[in-house]
């Protein structure tokens, strides 16, 4: 029987396009110090550390050993996890496994990225097969553009529908003091932004951000002593579908990995109607079209109903299922930290520490990670001890 596990503290940097004032280790340190302060712990209380960022993004190998000065990993067990865009959620899930196993009681999870130090697209390209896929259809934009146009063709969704997702997330970012892009946009702004690859425009996609996030997890019995309202892990699920781009061009099935992962998590948690039962969702939506399509995979609404569901305001902060009160990925994308920020922001909602972005009475929260070749991680957190 695994130990019950809760998030008891979170910390994040004030995210920016570039951080000349700190090197990588120093930026990691900022998030760790804030997370420890949040739960009134010191680094001596931490039994083990899980850390992750994107391979090739900063030309740092062995980030686990190299970062110990900043992470606090000097003379502690430390492990690197890197799974592409899902890295941050995988880091959180690996930390959860560590505590659940009973071998560790207090574990620190860290995700970070300094996008300003390299060429993000050149680095992302290294995720695709060097012989078969790398020459053209790689990097973030081409596969997302194909996914978006397939979705529009299937359901008649429009560029306007997608733009609403950017309007929502960028509006929410105004309430998050840590967010990178804190300037609201209109549908007209998004429509007028430069076309990158049809139908994806600059206003539809996430920025490149320098930032770090750290989360402290603690075992049952300790968590309640550390903080009055821990965010308990109810379920987590991981799905990796394929690695060759051509093996999964049936976009009409929806985001299969997310559908699959969320069904497993809902089943574990006994959730039947996610849009009604979940109080808040922090979703890894790397571009606006994901905000229409992926909420269908999550069963917030029926396939093809995403545009209507968003337009009707159901995902607004005062809607049926508030999505991304933090401003989401479209407002902040320090990639290795991005999915951990989703988990941290979900925990912040449950702990009631959201300030201006707090969803009133949030008790059951969903966080997702997205990356690689349409892979998905899902984490469900709850204010009630499971």
């Amino acid at each position: 029987m695994p130990q019950r596990v809760a998030i008891v503290g979170t910390g994040q940097t004030d995210h920016k396009s570039h951080r000349p004032d700190v090197n990588q280790r120093e930026m990691i340190n900022e998030a760790v110090v804030r997370a420890l302060e949040d739960c009134e712990m010191t680094i001596r209380d931490i039994d083990a550390i899980i850390i992750g960022n994107m391979d090739h993004f900063e030309s740092i190998n062995y980030v686990d050993t190299w970062s110990v000065e900043g992470s606090g990993g000097v003379m502690k067990p430390i492990m690197k996890i890197t799974t592409g865009g899902t890295t941050g959620a995988s880091v959180a899930i690996a930390a959860y496994y560590h505590v659940a196993s009973g071998l560790f009681d207090k574990v620190l999870a860290i995700g970070w990225e300094k996008n300003s130090e390299s060429d993000t697209t050149a680095a992302i390209v290294t995720c695709s097969d060097p012989v078969w896929d790398r020459f053209s259809y790689s990097g973030a934009i081409p596969s997302l553009a194909s996914e978006a146009s397939a979705y529009m063709e299937q359901y008649g969704a429009t560029q306007h529908d997608a733009a609403r997702v950017a309007v929502r997330d960028r509006k929410n970012a105004m309430n998050n003091p840590h967010a990178h892009l804190r300037k609201p946009v209109t549908i007209e702004d998004v429509m007028a932004s430069p076309m990158l690859a049809y139908p994806v425009k600059l206003g539809d996609v996430c920025p490149r951000t320098d930032g770090a996030c750290a989360v402290v997890l603690a075992a049952d019995g300790i968590a309640q002593k550390v903080t009055p309202r821990p965010a308990w892990f109810v379920a987590s699920a991981v799905r990796h579908t394929y690695t060759w781009f051509g093996d999964s061009t049936d976009y009409d099935q929806g985001l299969v990995s997310l559908k699959n992962a969320s069904r497993e998590a809902y089943q574990k948690a006994g959730i039947r109607n996610p849009a009604d039962e979940l109080d808040v969702a922090e979703l890894y939506l790397p571009y606006t079209y994901a905000g229409l399509k992926y909420i269908e995979a999550l069963d917030f609404c029926a396939p093809g109903h995403g545009p209507r569901f968003v337009a009707d305001g159901h995902t607004e902060i005062d809607g049926k299922i508030p999505v991304n009160p933090s401003g989401g990925v479209i407002s902040t994308n320090c990639i290795g930290a991005t999915a951990l920020l989703r988990v941290a922001e979900a925990a912040i909602q449950i702990m009631g520490k959201g300030g201006k972005r707090q969803v009133h009475g949030a008790n059951l929260a969903l966080a997702t990670g997205f990356g690689g070749c349409f892979w998905s991680d899902v984490v469900l957190l709850c204010g009630d001890r499971p």
């Binding site: 570039h18 951080r19 000349p20 004032d21 700190v22 090197n23 990588q24 120093e26 340190n29 110090v33 010191t42 680094i43 090739h56 900063e58 030309s59 110990v68 000065e69 900043g70 606090g72 000097v74 300094k114 300003s116 130090e117 390299s118 060429d119 050149a122 680095a123 390209v125 290294t126 060097p130 012989v131």
Partner: protein, 153 residues
Amino acid sequence: MPNWVDEVEPMTFKGQIAVPYTWWVGDTGSRFLEAIRDQATFLGTRCPDCDTVYVPPRKNCGRCFTALDQWVEIARRGVVTAFTIVRANHPLQPVKSPFAYALIRLDGASVSILHLITKDLARLSIGVTVEAHFKEASQRTGHILDIDHFQII
């Protein structure tokens, strides 16, 4: 059993990606590089908890996890704590062989800095005293190799 290379050509595929990394040094490291460039002096940071003096300077003590903001000026002289002599040449090496990569603990520092010893290698041993020789002011760019080499005294 037939050999597969008799039946099909072994193909390879050449990579084309060169990622242009540019790392921010940060305010702490930049102060050190500015000091060697503009004053030909060394700066370190001291940990208030364990008294360790770090050169190059750190923003936090890895062992104590304490933020460091006490700056200390460090001598140009120190002792060699470890070294290896390089006798082969390679384009990536900063100077022509023979030379030594040496760990040097400057007077006033608790840790050693990695640098080069290029002369009098026959006299090189652990514990020997060395002194920093800087490049001409006009040649210095804010790089660790603004220190040209360390000279055995």
